[in-house]
């Protein structure tokens, strides 16, 4: 992982980094920068707290969740899944990335209470990676057919072949 080099951050992002570090301190497991972008890793239990603070703090003002998605690192045995949230502040034009790492089968509280726009994102993350979001109002398959087998964006899911889905004949006459 690229080490944190706070010098490459813009002034506004440095403030963000300072503020979040002073507020959460040790709860930020990892701080890294790359190409002028700030990435913070938090534990799953701090996920909502950090996001809430990012949204509600006057100075940070991250009022928009740009995207939320998952990632899969099969080489990390204990915590193979990662959920990433890109936050944007429209007035400050800053961005920050909050990450959390999850073990297989571990669930994460939903962010739909903070940003309703997370609804589709979390559904997609769930169907693609199998990361469950607790408290999500409607955690169903979004892009794939509703009885799709498997989680396609996991690295062990094959790219080609007839896996996962099938032609639906069971719904004949019901639609």
């Amino acid at each position: 992982m690229v080490q944190a080099n706070l010098d490459e951050l813009s002034a506004a992002l440095k403030t963000v980094q300072k503020e979040l570090t002073s507020k959460f301190g040790k709860k930020l497991l990892e701080t890294s920068t790359f190409r002028g972008e700030l990435t913070l890793v938090v534990a799953p239990e701090d996920w909502i707290a950090v996001l809430t603070y990012c949204r509600d703090s006057e100075t940070l003002g991250f009022d928009r969740l740009d995207c939320l998605f998952g990632n899969h690192y099969p080489e990390r045995a204990d915590q193979p899944f990662e959920v990433v949230a890109n936050l944007t502040s429209i007035p400050n034009t800053t961005r920050v990335r909050i990450k959390t790492r999850l073990a297989d089968g571990e669930s994460l509280p939903t962010a739909t209470g903070l940003w309703p726009s997370a609804g589709f994102d979390e559904r997609e993350t769930w169907e693609m990676f199998g990361v469950v979001f607790d408290g999500h109002p409607n955690l169903q398959r979004l892009l794939l057919i509703s009885d799709f087998q498997g989680f396609p964006l996991r690295k062990d899911f094959p790219l080609e072949g007839l896996v996962g889905g099938r032609i639906r004949t069971d719904l004949k006459g019901k639609l």
């Binding site: 690229v2 790359f34 190409r35 972008e37 990435t39 009022d63 928009r64 969740l65 740009d66 995207c67 998605f69 990632n71 899969h72 990433v84 890109n86 429209i90 034009t93 961005r95 990335r97 940003w115 309703p116 726009s117 609804g119 589709f120 693609m128 398959r141 979004l142 892009l143 794939l144 057919i145 396609p152 964006l153 690295k155 899911f157 790219l159």
Partner: protein, 424 residues
């Protein structure tokens, strides 16, 4: 009566800018009361509904003609672009991004290439940046023309669509001249653009720039003051700036809510910092404001293209970077170093550092973000595409509630949605 042009940005209107509270109140007033206890009529809007945009499907509950609840459903056009991208090198992903939003495919190419260039830490040469800016604005014009025609057709005026397509055809011809394809351009490359401008391109483009503003004025004569259109578009589908932030509605819909958020200015890329333009902002947050924003953006785009053509620097269109760039064909044919670079790039792929970046660009329909995760291999470890349409489809739920059946498609169209981009 001449159409209000960009130059006469109305000073009187600025004093009448509605505040957020006023907009909230107006929104509450414009929507019909929803009675939860009544019997509802559930219909399936799309994907076989003739005027639903793309293959979007929504189950809509009606109380009479008023929408009580909607359940949007997407995924009918899911092609697994993100999964597919993990098996292709960074170069090979470019044609896939075309197919995200096939109406504005250059904007997708551009966003992806900007993201990868940020990841690599390189910059395209100046001429390439100007060509990119120009092509991006051409895309914006052609996308807005298509949008305009379809949007007015959503309100029942069918002739408009054909008239707009006529001008769009000209822009598509320009793209064909530029890169060889009309819809799926695949024109942007990591480190520049594929080909230099062809001979006679600038003259043809100037011709288009000359007649486009008059045509836009003509559209405005046709529809801008029409009492039926005003009645249909004003105070309909109000979506305030706070709603936009909560539901990640971006682009013209956000600017129509009075937020001067334009990535071309806020996070400049390509040649935008060197170009003088202003982003169109309206304050009413309704369907009509979104229409106004797009009409003004088209005029701005004409100005930007003209500036690009006038200030276009000479030089190469691809960066001289042996580790990341497929060289130009004429170099490959001539020099053996370029040929080796060609072979290395194709067989090995670009040498990107490990890391992850998020880069968003202002496409015609909103902010398109590419999140590229690299583990140092020539193939992306993960490519997440945060398309505006994905969130716009989701935002139909709060946008439609309390509105009337007749405005379903109109409001949906006013945020400009392409389901190819939404489903990925």
């Amino acid at each position: 009566m001449s159409a209000p042009s960009q130059d006469q940005a109305p000073p009187a209107a600025t004093t009448l800018r509605p505040t957020l509270e006023e907009l909230r109140e107006r929104k509450a007033r414009s929507r019909q009361p929803v009675h939860g206890d009544r019997e509802v009529l559930t219909v399936s809007m799309g994907p076989h509904h003739p005027s639903m945009h793309g293959v979007f499907r929504a189950e809509v509950d009606f109380d009479g003609e008023v929408i009580v609840a909607t359940r949007p459903e997407i995924g009918n056009l899911h092609r697994g672009v993100e999964k597919l991208a993990e098996s292709l090198t960074y170069h090979q992903v470019i044609p896939l991004t075309d197919r995200l939003h096939y109406v504005a495919s250059f904007a997708q190419n551009h966003g992806y290439c900007e993201a990868v260039e940020k990841l690599i830490g390189m910059e395209a040469p100046p001429r390439a940046r100007f060509i990119r800016t120009m092509a991006h604005e051409m895309t914006r014009i052609s996308n807005h023309l298509l949008w305009l025609g379809i949007h007015i057709m959503d309100f029942g005026a069918i002739t408009f669509q054909q008239i707009c397509f006529r001008e769009r055809e000209y822009m598509m011809d320009m793209f064909e001249m530029l890169c060889g394809a009309r819809l799926t351009h695949s024109y942007c490359r990591i480190g520049g653009v594929a080909k230099d401008l062809p001979d006679g391109f600038a003259e043809r483009m100037y011709g288009a720039l000359d007649f486009l503003p008059t045509r836009i004025s003509e559209y405005e004569r046709l529809i801008d003051k029409n009492r039926i259109f005003l009645g249909r578009a004003k105070d309909v589908g109000i979506f305030t700036s706070e709603d936009c932030a909560a539901w990640r509605v971006t682009g013209p819909a956000l600017r129509a809510a009075g937020v001067a958020r334009d990535l071309r200015k806020d996070e400049p890329y390509a040649a935008y910092p060197e170009i003088d333009f202003e982003s169109a902002v309206e304050y009413e947050a309704d369907v009509y404001a979104r229409y106004r924003v797009r009409m003004r953006e088209m005029r701005e785009s004409v100005k930007i293209i003209r500036q690009c053509l006038e200030n276009m620097p000479e030089g190469p269109v691809l960066a001289k970077d042996a580790a990341h760039v497929i060289p130009e064909k004429k170099d490959v044919m001539r020099s053996s170093a370029a040929m080796i670079q060609d072979f290395m790039q194709v067989f090995q792929g670009p040498q990107v550092p490990a890391g992850e970046v998020y880069r968003a660009v202002e496409t015609p329909h909103g902010e398109l973000g590419f999140h590229v995760v690299s583990d140092g291999s020539p193939k992306p470890q993960r490519l997440h595409i945060a398309t505006p349409c994905f969130f716009h489809c989701q935002a139909t739920t709060p946008m439609w509630e309390g509105e009337m059946l007749a405005d379903v498609v109109g409001i949906f169209g006013s945020v400009d949605v392409c389901l190819g981009s939404c489903d990925r």
